[in-house]
């Protein structure tokens, strides 16, 4: 139904956040410059990334780190999404949705071949999607819950029938759920691949680099570079140093406080994302079940100052970010007012409140430090429990054992989490659930978005959580590189259109 949140997706977004977390003025917005000379088709592109996948099995392992490099480059689905999350055809040249929203018909492109040379037919699509539908260990299984049949009406047409309309179904096909694999393929997906994309995997030096090479037998337009080498540099300072040393041509997730070091040699771009820095309140636990307490906590936070400390990002006052359908500017719902916060807390009888924030340790310390300080000013003593991610998963996500939690939710279109009373937010509002169900069932995308916006407003007015900011991702691009994407980089880096010129 809705996208799954992936741990590594969270971590990647965290990376972007941590970048944002540094103090100091952010880097100025600049137009990407064009390459000084003609693109060199034999060039190698070196990209610095933050989070390395633990393995390459995108069918069974969740994580933005896998999606980031594998989707659209190595593997392809029937549809894919653009930088601003619009859906476009990929393996499918055309697609139609029936008026009742139950039948999806896809027409495949011609001449698609897998990297091992086999031709792709609709049978492969059917086999791939059947696996997603029936195998519980495969990513996307939940999104195929309403699928009743997947048939190949002919060698280049696939028809999918749902039992009820799902506005998000097509979008979910732009993720791991929609990728097409060769039927009965024996490749070990953890370390190898057999996709259809413009690149093939040539080498994985664990803990260091992953290398792709251009697929010359690609069915579509060939990639602009002969080779891509991803370097994984989890430390932001080290990333900047690598860029300065010329080890990478592009550095993603640049720490805003360090960005000034790269200004001279690189073009810095600020991209939008669907990263929602979510300060979750445990709505099921006292005193957070009192809406006055929740509102007071939101009033106590100086969001603008926090974003300045982090270094990049835009304010976000509701659960839906700009790049998702249903976005509305909800800044009228809350403001920065510590006095009012104190009043509300007094009213609720919670004057010397003690709360604990559970936060995965890789998020850095800037956000906790600012929160401790802001809350102290309204009389709330915040203790911070910095845990390893597995512990966060266990305590917060599975057992709902927490007061406040901070995590970057990077998945697009995951508003459904607030319509799910079993989700770790513990937020249970029948009206929101009703609106969300209607939004999913609505066939007209605009009407659906409107319903989502209504539901989002209720969630924000209920103060179900606080959204500290909507992450921005800063990318440093060398002048010899052009065509590198700007938005949504932590979940998709589509390299097909990137070129590197020979000069340096």
């Amino acid at each position: 139904m809705f996208r799954r949140t992936r741990r590594l997706a969270l971590i990647s977004a965290l990376a972007a956040t941590a970048v944002i977390l540094s103090a100091c003025s952010g880097s100025p917005d600049q137009e990407p410059s064009t390459a000084p000379s003609a693109p060199d088709p034999a060039a190698t592109l070196h990209v610095g990334l933050v989070l390395e996948p633990t393995n390459l099995d995108i069918r069974h392992t969740s994580g933005a780190a896998l999606e980031q490099i594998l989707i659209d480059n190595i593997y392809e689905g029937l549809v894919s999404r653009t930088q601003d999350n619009e859906i476009e055809g990929r393996l499918a040249s055309d697609y139609k949705v029936s008026d009742d929203g139950l039948t999806y018909t896809f027409t495949l492109n011609d001449g698609i071949v897998f990297h091992d040379g086999t031709e792709l037919t609709s049978a492969d699509v059917v086999s791939s999607y059947e696996t997603v539908r029936t195998d519980a260990t495969v990513q996307g299984n939940a999104e195929f819950a309403a699928v009743t049949s997947i048939t190949a009406t002919d060698a280049s047409t696939v028809e999918i029938v749902l039992s009820e309309p799902n506005q998000n179904f097509l979008f979910s096909l732009t993720g791991p759920a929609g990728l097409v694999f060769k039927a009965d393929d024996a490749t070990d997906l953890k370390t190898a691949e057999n996709g259809t994309g413009p690149f093939t995997l040539t080498r994985w030096n664990k803990g260091s680099t992953i290398t792709f090479a251009r697929n010359d037998a690609y069915w579509g337009e060939a990639a602009g570079v002969a080779q891509v080498e991803f370097q994984y540099i989890p430390d932001f300072t080290a990333g900047v140093n690598a860029a300065l040393a010329g080890d990478v041509d592009v550095l993603t997730a640049v720490d805003p406080n360090l960005a000034s070091q790269l200004e001279d040699d690189f073009t810095l771009t600020k991209g939008r994302t669907t990263d929602k820095a979510t300060l979750a309140f445990n709505n099921e636990r006292a005193p957070l079940d009192d809406v006055r307490v929740r509102e007071a906590l939101r009033l106590a936070i100086d969001h603008d100052a926090l974003i300045e400390a982090v270094g990049a990002g835009t304010t976000l006052y509701g659960p839906i970010p700009e790049l998702d359908p249903g976005y509305e500017d909800l800044s009228d719902v809350i403001s920065y007012d510590p006095e009012k916060a104190k009043e509300l807390l007094a009213e609720a009888g919670q004057e010397d409140l003690e709360l604990t924030l559970t936060i995965p340790s890789f998020y850095g310390t800037t956000v906790p430090k600012v929160l401790i300080s802001d809350f102290k000013k309204v009389g709330v003593a915040l203790d911070v429990n910095s845990v390893e991610f597995p512990t966060w998963l266990e305590d917060v996500y599975t057992n709902h054992d927490y007061d406040l939690s901070f995590v970057l939710h990077v998945e697009p279109r995951d508003f459904g989490n607030f319509a799910n009373p079993d989700y770790y937010f513990g937020y249970d509002n029948a009206k929101v659930q009703d609106l969300y169900a209607k939004a999913l069932a609505e066939v007209d995308p605009d009407k659906s978005a409107e319903l989502l916006a209504q539901a989002a407003r209720i969630v924000s007015e209920d103060h179900a959580a606080d959204w500290l900011y909507n992450g921005e991702t800063i990318t440093a691009v060398s002048p010899i590189v052009s065509g590198f994407p700007e938005d949504s980089i932590n979940s998709r880096i589509n390299l097909a259109g990137v070129t590197v010129s020979a000069e340096k």
Binding site: R4, T5, R6, R7, L10, T54, N55, T61, S62, G63, A136, T137, Q139, A142, D188, K190, T191, N205, K206, G207, S208, T209, E229, Q231, I233, P234, D235, T237, A238, N241, A242, A245, D247, S361, F362, E388, F389, P390, T391, L393, E394, D395, Y397, T398
Partner: protein, 316 residues
């Protein structure tokens, strides 16, 4: 000597066994769940259980332990639960950074400790000697991570002579750049360890100076310095060997922190990452390899020491 070697050998094996049991026991009791981690935040409980079974995490503890130890004897250090990669292969790869780093650090430490230690002994009682001793004390008190930071500030940020972090992705195929990358890290560890070592050298030299054979040599007409150098050096060498075991342990530990600071793709940094991601099998084998290495070095050093000077009794 043979008897001694056998006894120490038995102790070594006992040590390895006890260490492996301790490591295994400690690591199996944790709040995190590796199966849940791999499956992702929105996996259903049945998916997680299926994964747990396929990875063998639900088998009885003793079976898991014997599997691990049995594998070690076959040379198979296990496979990472998260990435499916062979632990042995990765250790070998990362060792290509850590071992040279350790050797360079040790060399630098010795190069600093021996001349300055002897000098401090010769200047004993004089202001130069006191200053040297105090300097060594001060350097030994410096947290090695801060020493690294200050060296980065001076040599990279200000002077720009050396790269501040990282190891070239071309690795040892570009030996010049590789050594450049390891220079600051090795200097950091070497200086701090050298400061500690220097005090041993100083006291060993002083002890040697008080020995009969040196005084006899002096009586025979050699200057105090030359007598010291001719006869004292072996004593100094012996004392260095005594503490070599500790030095190696110190370098290994230092490298864990230093590799993190300088983002070197070595064993230490891999250990830190694996502890964070709860990659059980990897952490077990890595810890055992490191501890085993320290134990083996200790064993070799003990034998060497005994061989060179059988008159020396063991301290404890």
């Amino acid at each position: 000597m043979i008897r001694y070697a056998l006894v120490r050998g038995a102790l070594l094996i006992a040590g390895l066994l006890v260490s492996s049991v301790l490591i295994f026991l400690t690591l199996r009791v944790f709040p995190g769940d590796v199966a849940q981690l791999i499956a992702g935040t929105q996996a259903s409980p049945s998916e997680v259980d299926a994964l747990r079974e396929s990875l063998g995490l639900d088998r009885p503890l003793l079976a898991q332990y014997t599997d691990w130890i049995g594998g070690l004897f076959r040379g198979d250090l296990g496979t990472s639960l998260l990435s499916g990669a062979s632990v042995g292969e990765e250790l070998f790869l990362k060792a290509q950074v850590t071992v040279p780093l350790g050797i360079m650090s040790l060399l630098i430490a010795v190069l600093i400790a021996v001349p300055f230690g002897i000098l401090a002994a010769l200047l004993r009682g004089r202001r130069g000697g006191t200053a040297l001793s105090f300097g060594a004390q001060a350097l030994a008190a410096v947290p090695v991570v801060w020493a690294g930071m200050m060296l980065i500030v001076v040599f990279s940020v200000w002077l720009g002579w050396l790269p501040p972090q990282g190891f070239p992705r071309t690795g040892w195929s570009t030996p010049g750049r590789a050594i450049e990358a390891l220079l600051l890290p090795a200097l950091t560890i070497g200086i701090v360890e050298g400061a500690m070592l220097m005090r041993f050298v100083r006291s060993a030299t002083l002890q040697a100076a008080g020995q009969d054979f040196v005084r006899t040599a002096a009586a025979k007409g050699l200057t105090r310095t030359r007598a010291l150098i001719q006869h004292g050096i072996p004593a100094v060498g012996l004392s260095i060997i005594t503490v070599l075991g500790l030095q190696v342990a110190g370098i290994i530990v230092g490298s864990v922190v230093i590799e993190q600071l300088f983002t070197l793709p070595g064993i230490g940094r891999m250990l830190v990452t694996d502890v964070g991601t709860r990659d059980l099998i990897k952490v077990q084998s890595e810890l055992l390899v490191l501890t085993g290495f320290v134990l083996i070095v200790g064993f070799v050093v003990d034998l060497l020491h005994r061989a060179i000077d059988p008159r020396q009794r063991e301290a404890a």
